[in-house]
């Protein structure tokens, strides 16, 4: 049962991720990206990370990708130049490097030495448990992250004002 679910979600994830880079039009790339992000959220949900799954939907699919859509809508980009893949020597080199990456990663993750699988408590990955660790052990990084977000917001606003 879990295996079937895994293969379904893996197929959706991989095919939509491939579609992100194969699509000719940017808007369709963005839509494929949304599908990828939603299926990754599904994977998180399978992996007992329910909080992360919802944050993935809210933050990634609901906020970050909207920015992409906004950018494409503002630029009306597709009218100006079609989107192309690299070809020739550089393209072959890129393909080679990427394939090397994939091969190496898959090889190491298929064999790698693992610790024994831990037994999980019932609320593993729930909002309460993640929140507890986030606001105690990782409080300083959290505050830093919020400052980073503030800086980014100010920076983005500044850029768009100048232009």
């Amino acid at each position: 049962m879990e295996l079937i679910q895994f293969y379904i979600v893996a197929a959706i994830t991989i095919s939509s991720a491939v579609s992100v880079i194969m699509q000719g039009r940017v808007m369709y790339s963005i839509l494929s990206l949304i599908v990828t992000l939603l299926s990754v959220a599904w994977i998180y949900a399978i992996l007992n990370a329910s909080f992360l799954a919802v944050v993935q939907v809210i933050l990634y699919a609901g906020a970050i990708v909207v920015l992409f859509v906004f950018a494409v809508m503002m630029l009306r980009y597709e009218e100006i130049e079609p989107q192309r893949m690299r070809t020739g020597l550089i393209g072959c080199l890129g393909l080679l490097v990427a394939l090397f990456f994939i091969f190496e990663l898959i090889l190491s993750s298929a064999t790698g030495p693992f610790v024994e699988e831990a037994t999980l408590s019932a609320d593993f990955g729930s909002i309460k448990s993640v929140g507890a660790i986030l606001y105690t052990q990782y409080l300083v990084p959290l505050e830093l992250a919020s400052i980073l977000l503030l800086v980014a917001v100010v920076g983005a606003a500044l850029f768009s004002k100048r232009g």
Partner: protein
Amino acid sequence: MFIDVAITLLKIAFVFGLVLNIAGILGWAERKQSAVMQDRIGANRADILGLRLFGLFHPIADIVKVITKEDWIPPGGDKFLHTLAPFLALFTALAVFAVIPFGDTLHIAGRDIPLVIADLNVGILFVIAFGSLGIYSVVLAGWSSDNKYSLLGSMRAAAQVISYELALALSVVGVIMAYGSVELDDIARAQGQYVLGIIPYWGVIAQPLGFLIFFAAAMAETKRTPFDLPECESEIIGYFTEYSGFKFLAFWMGEFIEVIAVAGVVTTLYFGGWQVPFIDSQGFFVPGLFTIPLPHLLVVVIQVTAFILKVCFFCWFMLLVRWTLPRFRYDQLMGFGWKFLLPLAFLNVILSGVIFMSFEG
């Protein structure tokens, strides 16, 4: 296994049947409401064999009209996305109902059936997540229409929805603080307590300011007057100008379903969900005095009915607001969201934190 699936399917059929029917009737109620408030008679012409019934057949007439209309896709537009957008609007609005509990746990034939379609442990965050996904229908509709004004309209709508989402999510934090859970089921159950023994501890008692912020922000999310700049049926060109026929109906239904969803969430978070004051699983009681035992099934039926009535009340209340208030100007709309509601929501979070801490300590 088989029975579980059957029960879930039954619950889905019940909830979606209810929601879609209320959405249909809301179309009629809106016309009647506007007519009453503008001193007109309103929809009353549709009849079947001379039977008019206050115009209740108008939704049927609407649907027949809309389905038989030509479905027009702009030649320069994107056919696939143009078709996808309205169904996305319907889907994201409907998905919210999966987590809204419409009754207490039903004990029947040795089974415990929680009266909610999917009892997820992320609860209210699921609602917010699908609320934020709803933006894509707006954006795609405007983009795929190949119309500058539709594009501008969809940008306006998207900016509005994103802006008010912040205040919406922040106002929910107060409720989470008050009941110590994000699960809507727990929140509804916790509202069965009583303050000072007699006042039901509903969200609106614990979070009066939070309720106002949430309701205002949620009204803006549904894109209805006074926040209906994205649509502005009569004046500005909105994002679904290039839609006709059944797809237009899908947007229209999506809007009404969003209204019902907001009413459902408001009821669950701030007005006790399925709780009826002074009725619990034991039966009807007067605090400290006596209890009249009621059969379990009757209690559940009362609670589900109470939930539906509360939802209908809030749907009606939103119609009332719609036909009472004039529309915001766009800068006022943005200013209201960012400069008023958002700081107020922050204040509400801080205030509730201080108050709950001091009560506990």
